[in-house]
Amino acid sequence: MENLLWVVPALPLVGVAFNGLLGRRAGKGVVAFVGPGVVGAAFAVAIALFVHLVGLPAGERELHQTVYEWLVGGGFGAPVAFLVDPLSMTMVLVVTGVGFLIHVYSVGYMHDEDERGFARYFTYLNLFTFAMLLLVMADNFLLMFVGWEGVGLCSYLLIGFWFADRDNAEAGKKAFIVNRIGDFGFLIGIFLVFSTFGSVAFADVLPAAGAALTVGGTLAFWIALFLFLGAVGKSAQIPLYVWLPDAMAGPTPVSALIHAATMVTAGVYMVARLHPIYQMAPSALAIVAGIGAATALFAATIGLVQNDIKKVLAYSTISQLGYMFLGVGVAAFTAGIFHLVTHAFFKALLFLGAGSVIHALHGQQDMRYMGGLKSGMPITYWTMLAATLAISGIPPFAGFFSKDDILWRTWDAGHPLLWAIGFVTAGLTAVYMFRLFFLTFHGKFRGTDEQAEHVHESPPSMAVPLAVLGVLSLIGGWIGIPAALGDPLGGLGNAFEGWLAPVFERGEVAGELHPAVPPIEYGLMAASVAIATLGLLAAWWLYVRNQRLPEELSLRFRAAYTVLRNKYWIDEAYTLFVVRPFNALSAFAWRVVDDGLIDGLAVMGTGRLVRFGSGVASRWETGYVPGYVLVFFGGALAILAYYLLG
């Protein structure tokens, strides 16, 4: 089995080659088969690997394969080598599994594209899957960075998929540039790691972290912080979150796959993967947790007042990613990854459901012109309900278990303030998610009559992935039922924690697998269920029962409403304090430094100098042969005189 690791990323790469080179000629039918097919096959291989891995003793669940010696130089080596342990196995399953469903969904969603666009779309989507698999399966920093950049590139390509519209292209560029800032930090982190450990292989660095770094040391702090800067960019945390809402310009399945389920969680995965380093830097971990909690609350408040259905989901994603960072920040790596997995299910479903709605309304994304879609789209309605319950944290849906795990661990680690932020955010999550849900599916339809007639349930290629993800949103959390709730499924227990325990054994305190349950855990659990229910009811009260009330509230709390509507003017602040000065600096570098000094003085100056010198020198070149002979003879004479007389 170990030799089969390369097959998993190779399959999507085959899809890239086929769709990219032959897709246009092969036609949409073939592409619709190959594009999802290769990812499905990769998923099948991943399942086989998973079965194999489960069959091994818990301590030996680690597969390595070196495919190719990529970079070799002196003592430095960075092979193309794959590592599959429970952590990356989890990620591979999520990426290929959810990815496969979204590929299938895309066949229906993108069917209006022509052959060219269709093939291009699946080329990019397969390329993304390949890069993401590279990221999660890499066994060294450098290969991980290749995947890291690869997913960033695909994100850029897919956000700007409909690049003919200038706004879409701008959104793609914004995502790319903001990500570059984070990638810069990541790269610095890798340099620091290499200079400290003399290697970039996880197998060399991670076990040695304890010996090479001192707990709370400066070096550990900076390595962890720079690496986290990469995560902040990729996973859209404060202050680099601004690209994600704009990234909604891409096709909706892309938002589901890249900007909800997989790529944006790469930062969480990275922190979890490198947890031995973070363990050495408690202050860096505190920053991770702080930024996570702040982002969660901050994005949730903005999400409350957005009218674009995808923008609400985008801010929700940022908020949920904040939860994950809160989890890993308090060293509850299992909880963070657990939330990553369940979030992949329900958030992908939410996006796909939103895509289904947008599809039915022919591109309408503004919730003010939706409503009452429940009857026309039953499958979308029920699956969306499952996902909304899951994200709101209503038991027994998936989100409840993972979110509650994070909150409990935060409290348990001694951060009541962070817990409180997470707790409030949980309530806000329920409010804005059910706001979205009620505005979209309940009440009266507020769009045009023409749209109302065309409302239809999506084709099977879209409905089936919705249904599958709906089921997962319900049961996905049952793999991690906390010990506090006993063992309702009989023998499963907290399977997820046990599964990841070998990876994090150094990270989490030993013996915590079956800790005694303090009474307060039940109290906190009840509180978070209560606040989620409260949020649900509040949304129902505001958007179903008293539909005038939201407007009155917005008028009464005008200041707060304006701040939220304008997203705290963060984008404007960036424009004013970063973009404009940077543009001015670039203009200076262009006009004065480049045009003036380099081009004008150096390049053109050299040319002019040579030209002038040649003009002077060419006066000697009379083209008159006897003149040359005269000079030649005079020279010969001079040499002769030197030898005979000198």
Binding site: P626, L630, F633, G634, L637, L640, A641, L645
Partner: protein, 171 residues
């Protein structure tokens, strides 16, 4: 003063005088004829150096073939009369003459006249009339120096083709 010395003075003077006439005479045909005399004088000087073979070649190739070619071209281009542009401007003529005088003067002062051999070649000691014979030159040419000889043959072939191509009337 031996007969050979007398021959040197006679033919040496003749060569110098005719050469000067070649470059001073305004009539190209006369120049060519003076040059023929100069080449004959050099052939005679070769004889005084015991290289009869080279003297014969000199007469055959230079005085015979090459000079006929010159004469032919002069006639062909109808340049038998003095040309208006024939001589350079006077300052250049003076400078050239001065440079030439300086050159000869330098060599005179440098002691070229008193030069005597300080090294001996591989054929040193061989009688003089054997040294310059056809047999000696021929065996050297076909054994030791066969590669330059072949290269010269090729050069002549290329020159032949080149001359035809260059002088051919363009179509």
């Amino acid at each position: 003063m031996t007969g050979v010395d007398l021959a040197f003075w006679f033919f040496g003077t003749l060569a110098v005088v005719t050469s000067v006439l070649v470059i001073t005479n305004r009539n190209p045909v006369a120049s060519v004829l003076f040059l023929v005399i100069a080449f004959f004088s050099l052939a005679a000087l070769f004889v005084t150096l015991h290289s009869h073979f080279l003297a014969a070649i000199q007469v055959l190739v230079y005085a015979g073939a090459i000079m006929v070619l010159f004469l032919f071209v002069v006639m062909l281009l109808n340049l038998g009369q003095p040309q208006w542009f024939d001589v350079q401007a006077r300052p250049l003529v003076i400078v050239a003459a001065a440079l030439g005088a300086a050159f000869v003067g330098l060599l005179w002062k440098g002691g070229l006249l008193e030069w005597t051999p300080t090294v001996t070649g591989p054929a040193a000691g061989v009688p003089e009339d054997v040294l310059g014979s056809v047999e000696a030159i021929g065996s050297a040419l076909y054994t030791v120096y066969y590669l330059p000889f072949i290269a010269t043959a090729l050069l002549l072939l290329i020159a032949m083709v080149g001359a035809v191509v260059i002088a051919r009337r363009e179509r």
